[in-house]
């Protein structure tokens, strides 16, 4: 592992709760690691597991999926559907041999700026412990131009 390696973490945040939670963390000046890149989705139920796999394949070291607490979904039941997808995907990835913790899940409401920062901290620490994703990701050197330079 390179000495100054920092993980790249992709977060899929639902528009109504977790994204607002992240926003609150920001406006409240709560600090959290900068390893995270956010993609805002309408609902945690919108997250196609394909997105998560594609992220890992593209060289992302960890993925966080976050939505509204059970019962709080803006679309009534989207997060319940998402929960089932997450449960099966998580088990499937671990079964394949992808390290536990590469993909993590959380509930963060719009009022939980503090929790958001705490979740991001935990996720980042966890991914740092795992090290760079080497099992599945596409190696960037596959795309190096073989020039004589």
């Amino acid at each position: 592992m390179e000495a100054n390696w920092e993980p790249k973490i992709l977060a899929f945040l639902c528009n109504w709760c977790s994204y607002a939670g992240a926003d609150l963390a920001g406006t409240s000046r709560i600090q959290y690691p900068t390893n995270i890149r956010v993609i805002r989705v309408p609902c945690s139920g919108r997250i196609n597991p394909l997105f998560i796999l594609k992220a890992l394949q593209s060289g992302i070291d960890g993925v966080l999926v976050s939505g509204c607490h059970p019962g709080d979904c803006h679309y009534i039941s989207g997060n319940y559907i998402g929960r089932r997808k997450s449960a099966t995907l998580k088990r499937f990835l671990e079964y394949l041999g992808i390290e536990e913790g590469r993909v993590q899940f959380s509930w963060v409401s719009a009022a939980e700026g503090g929790k958001f920062s705490q979740v991001v901290n935990e996720v980042t620490q966890g991914i740092k412990r795992l090290g760079p994703s080497r099992r599945f990701g596409k190696r960037s050197d596959e795309f190096r131009v073989q020039s004589s330079e």
């Binding site: 596409k138 960037s140 596959e142 795309f143 190096r144 131009v145 073989q146 020039s147 004589s148």
Partner: protein, 349 residues
């Protein structure tokens, strides 16, 4: 020129090839599944299966081949050719049908109107050591397509398995370069007569009954035949038969890129896939299995003969062996012949 290679020397012979050339030979990936691969150690070579699953064409025309690399710098494009193949190659263990198929690919990639550089550089640096088929399978029908279990054309050297040893025939200039090979001994007359015996026995086994003669003419009249309405029905539309076919050569050209870097890649493609002919507008000239199966068979037995004077099938039998639904090309060919049509009718009534 006929020589002899004792089996006990095979390992050392392979090692000498590895030292001097890039050696390619069948390698078993898992029990019963093998492919042609570059060999690092003699022990990797596996000659138990008659034909590996993936055909020899892969060595000259890989399933996925980078044509060039590129990088975008601002508005400028920087393009770099892939490195040229420089080291001489030897292919060992190719069977007559696979070798014959390479001469079909020659027509395509080294034809009069166009030379494919990627194919050419590998082709001209390669020496092919063919292996006789002493025990052809029941699915082999090379004898119907102009070959035979001992068909030597296209091979530079030809090995005939005599149990204890190989009889080695040097057939071309490239083959003659091996004349002085330290593992080759002079062949005994006994070896030669034994080889002849084996050859005669094997050639009775190659199925010569598939009616390929005049198939081009028959198919000329069959473009809109109801034959196509039925023959395709069981085809599921996978690409096994086309990818594993030693003569199928259709390809797709795509760009693979990450950020500003990438390469243009040539991948095998298959006429049995619906996207193969689908146009961007959504129009598909071959909208169903009927047209796609027709394309596959017509290309092999009508269009290709029209353009090159020979059928694009060498009778290796892979498409028959590996089809998940037992689509048998021999049966399809037979159904185009008067005899086959009669037989089909007889079975109905």
């Amino acid at each position: 020129m006929k020589l002899r290679l004792d089996k006990k020397d095979l390992k050392s012979f392979l090692q000498s090839l590895i030292d001097q050339y890039d050696l390619y030979a069948p390698v078993q990936l898992t029990e019963g599944v093998s492919v042609y691969k570059k060999i690092d150690r003699p022990g990797e070579v596996s000659l138990t299966l008659l034909n590996p699953q993936k055909p020899l064409k892969e060595i000259f025309f890989p399933q996925s081949e980078v044509m060039f690399d590129f990088e975008k710098v601002g508005k400028r494009n920087q393009v770099t050719s892939t490195e040229e193949v420089k080291k001489e190659r030897v292919i060992l263990g190719a069977r007559p049908c696979d070798i014959q198929a390479i001469s079909i690919l020659d027509e395509i990639f080294l034809g009069k109107d166009y030379t494919d550089v990627y194919f050419l550089q590998k082709r001209k640096l390669t020496t092919i050591i063919g292996f006789s088929c002493n025990h052809p399978l029941s699915t082999c029908f090379c004898s119907s397509t102009g070959g035979s279990p001992f068909f030597r054309e296209g091979a530079d050297l030809f090995f005939i398995d005599l149990e204890e040893a190989f009889l080695v025939e040097l057939l071309t200039e490239k083959g003659m370069a091996f004349q002085k090979n330290r593992f080759f001994k002079e062949a005994d007359p006994k070896d030669i007569s034994l080889a002849k015996e084996i050859e005669e026995k094997a050639s009775t086994k190659g199925d010569a009954s598939v009616p390929i003669e005049r198939i081009e003419k028959r198919l000329n009249l069959m473009m809109e035949s109801p034959f196509w309405d039925r023959v395709h029905e069981k085809c599921m539309g996978c690409r096994i038969c086309t990818y594993l076919c030693p003569t199928c050569h259709c390809f797709d050209i795509v760009d693979e890129a990450l950020n500003n870097r990438g390469h243009r890649v040539r991948n095998w493609d298959s006429c049995l896939s619906s996207l193969y002919s689908q146009e961007t507008s959504g129009h598909n000239p071959r909208p169903s299995g009927r047209e796609r199966t027709r394309q596959r068979l017509m290309h092999k037995f009508n269009y290709f003969p029209k353009n090159f004077g020979r059928v694009a099938c060498v009778g290796c039998g892979r498409c028959i062996l590996y089809c998940p639904v037992n689509f048998d090309i021999r049966q399809a060919i037979e159904l185009t012949s008067p005899k086959g049509i009669k037989k089909e009718k007889a079975e109905v009534n």
